[in-house]
């Protein structure tokens, strides 16, 4: 593709903003509650209004201020789980994921919302991150570029989990496009004003971008540094009790996205011994010491960084859209 070619993409008429997918990640909980208080009116002057759906994803967990009630909601959106048979004894979150799939999906279908923005907090020092399953979803990548430009004083990164659509498991995979907006550090069960404000600004700029896109603005392409997850590292654990036997080393703690080299300190045992990174390749650590990941066996995740060339994009015109729809229908008939 030529560097000055502009890619045309379908409009995004419906956007969902979801908070409280984990009930103790409070910036999203309070932001969604605030947004629900304000009545959404379709402004007549607006040329390309966007239908914004505001969703409190896990009300029970939010009410208890726990991550989840029975099971992690944000792992319940695989096709298998969503289409599995329902029973009375299903965990609450399985039932809820199917409700959300009906509301915002169905995942993979034409009825699904165009964009899902799922709000999260982390105890790791990650600044603001957009997390997606694709490194070539130009909508998400352009939103990222827009946020970087509009909120320059917050460190911002784009994280890619290389997981197929079939295996994708999180709420943001229900929409045609989607990403998690992850902001830290913030302890679970706590709302920090600076983190709340960053999330509020992030959501506002994201919605502004969607309106601009829908109204025909051309967004110039450029480069984005994408961090693609390679592997996780667990804590050293006691073979009998399975309790951790070391903590993230002080030299690594809070240093998300600072390149980790072979032999760099990784953990410090309770008797003060340093355990070092034994990988062969320098990689970028993130989700360092995330509270919720102790039970998932993850002390930190590691990523490779690469530069992705993002093309310029604009919204399809009506004729282009009709032509595409016709083509789609023909394919379906065949």
């Amino acid at each position: 593709m030529e560097v000055d070619e502009v890619m045309c993409l379908p409009r995004l008429p419906r956007v969902a903003v979801c908070g409280g997918t984990h009930g103790n990640e409070l910036s999203g909980v309070y932001l969604v509650r605030e947004m629900l208080k304000v009545e959404k009116k379709v402004v007549e002057e607006e040329e390309e209004p966007v239908l914004v759906m505001i969703v409190l994803s896990n009300p029970r967990a939010t009410q208890q201020c726990h991550r989840y009630v029975d099971t992690d909601l944000n792992r319940c959106f695989t096709h298998a789980t969503l289409n599995g048979p329902m029973s009375d004894t299903d965990p609450y979150e399985i039932v809820r994921s199917q409700e959300l799939n009906t509301l915002l999906g169905p995942k993979g279908s034409r009825q699904a919302v165009d964009l899902v923005c799922d709000l999260h907090n982390t105890t790791a020092n990650m600044g603001m991150c957009l997390i997606t399953y694709s490194d070539c979803d130009w909508i998400c990548l352009h939103i990222f570029r827009h946020l970087q430009k509009e909120i320059p004083d917050i460190p911002m990164r784009f994280i890619h989990f290389d997981v197929s659509n079939k295996e994708s498991y999180s709420l943001d995979s229900v929409g045609k496009h989607g990403f998690a907006m992850e902001i830290g550090p913030q302890p679970h069960g706590v709302v920090r004003s600076n983190i709340y404000t960053a999330m509020k600004d992030g959501v506002q700029h994201m919605l502004d971008w969607v309106r601009l896109f829908n109204s025909g603005t051309m967004f110039k392409g450029g480069f984005v540094d994408v961090f693609t997850m390679v592997k996780h590292i667990d804590y050293p654990r006691d073979s009998v009790t399975h309790n951790i036997t070391a903590a993230i080393h002080p030299h690594l703690q809070d240093r998300d996205f600072c390149l980790l080299h072979p032999e760099d300190p990784l953990f410090q045992t309770f008797s003060g011994e340093t355990l070092r990174y034994k990988g062969k390749e320098p990689l970028y650590p993130f989700f360092i010491n995330e509270c919720a990941y102790y039970e998932k066996g993850i002390a930190l995740s590691l990523a490779r960084k690469r530069r992705v060339m993002v093309p310029s994009i604009r919204v399809e015109t009506e004729q282009e859209q009709q032509a595409n729809d016709h083509e789609y229908s023909s394919e379906e008939e065949n």
Binding site: Y30, L31, R33, E34, C65, T123, P185, P187, H188, G189, V190, V191, R192, S193, N194, Y196, T197, K200, N243, I244, A247, I248, H249, P250, Q253, Q268, F270, S271, G272, N289, C291, A292, Y294
Partner: protein, 356 residues
């Protein structure tokens, strides 16, 4: 200090505190000493030149009183793994206070264990509907107390974490010279972290926390650390503070005299809740960025304290005070955004071990 200056300083302090409706510090210490004389059997020299205490030979180190405050959990587990039960002249019990809460990594299962040690709750009859933590408090009282009796451990150190930026903070109930001398010792030894003392002005019968079981006790509160998370730097700070405490006890038991001096401590006078929605009861503001992480920095009238979710600033009204426990996770449900404290100076006499 000359007698005239001592009197001048004492008068000044008395005037300040009488304005606030509080008894003078000297009379307060006198009253407290008389109360603790029965328990500790100490001798007091009228000029307060040196005070003696019995040997401190049995101590308890408790962690996991709140099951998601991880430093204490792991430090106690580590000591138990290495079967630490005696260091020199000091025999040590290590206790995981709330094992059920630790198992599920929650603060508590039914009710806050660290509010279950009032005289009333410790003597309340146990029925089928008694919450787990009330029962556990009575077990701990039997094991480490009974509270207020001769059999109680000499010292109980309870390990806690906070999400607030409080550095290393020792928390006492009374102006007890022994823990205050330990505080002075730790403050001199540890320069990597701010070390402060907080005092709760509550009589022993109303004292509600685990550390009230011991004859001379205090809590070690270190932050900031998120609940459920273990930070190595915080672990190292708590371990060092515990090591210094044990070293001090060794020195004390071997006959050393610890010199007189002065320490500053923060006495909580009130708490401030978050602004809340009158209908839902939900908080409608967060701690203002200018207050966030500024525990122990003097708060003046007009200083911002909250920033609402819609962007309005709420300012502090009232006297100049010191904020503590700013944005502590567990206090949202207790309706506390932060405590406010006065800073007081406590004069310490020199202390030494009483020889039989």
């Amino acid at each position: 200090m000359s007698r005239r200056n001592r009197k001048r300083r004492a008068t000044g302090r008395r005037k300040k505190q009488e304005v606030a409706g509080r008894p003078a510090v000297n009379r307060n210490i006198q009253r407290l000493l008389q109360a603790s004389e029965c328990q500790a059997g100490l001798q007091r020299d009228k000029a307060m030149e040196s005070v003696s205490f019995p040997p401190q030979s049995s101590i308890a180190i408790c962690g996991g009183t709140h099951g998601n405050e991880m430093t204490g959990v792991y430090l106690v587990r580590e000591m138990q793994k290495h079967k630490v039960d005696k260091i020199g002249s000091v025999s040590i019990s290590t206790v995981l206070s709330n094992p059920r809460a630790v198992d599920v990594c929650r603060r508590y299962t039914e009710t806050d264990l660290n509010r279950c040690f009032t005289d009333a709750l410790l003597s309340s009859p146990i029925t089928d509907s008694t919450p787990y933590e009330v029962r556990r408090a009575q077990e701990l009282n039997a094991q480490l107390g009974p509270k207020g009796s001769e059999k109680a451990v000499d010292m109980l150190i309870d390990l806690h974490n906070t999400t607030a930026n409080m550095g290393l903070c020792l928390i006492f109930y009374t102006a007890d010279y022994l823990p205050l001398q330990i505080f002075k010792y730790i403050q001199n030894k540890m320069s990597s972290v701010p070390v402060r003392a907080m005092q709760l002005d509550i009589p022993l019968s109303d004292a509600y926390s685990l550390d009230s079981l011991g004859k001379h006790s205090f809590s070690i509160e270190v932050g900031p650390q998120p609940n459920g998370v273990l930070r190595a730097d915080i672990f190292n700070i708590v371990k060092e503070a515990v090591d210094h405490t044990i070293a001090w006890l060794q020195e004390f038991n071997s006959g050393s005299t610890f010199e007189a001096g002065e320490v500053e401590a923060f006495t909580v006078v009130k708490s401030v809740d978050y602004p809340r929605d009158p209908v839902t009861g939900e908080i409608s503001a967060a701690i203002h960025p200018q207050l966030q992480d500024n525990d122990f920095k003097l708060l003046k009238p007009g200083d911002p304290i909250f920033l609402s979710f819609t962007g309005e600033t709420v300012k502090h009204e009232g006297e100049e005070l010191y904020p503590l426990f700013v944005n502590e996770c567990a206090y949202y449900e207790k309706k506390i955004a932060f405590h406010l404290a006065q800073k007081r100076t406590f004069k310490l006499p020199s202390i030494h071990m009483k020889k039989d």
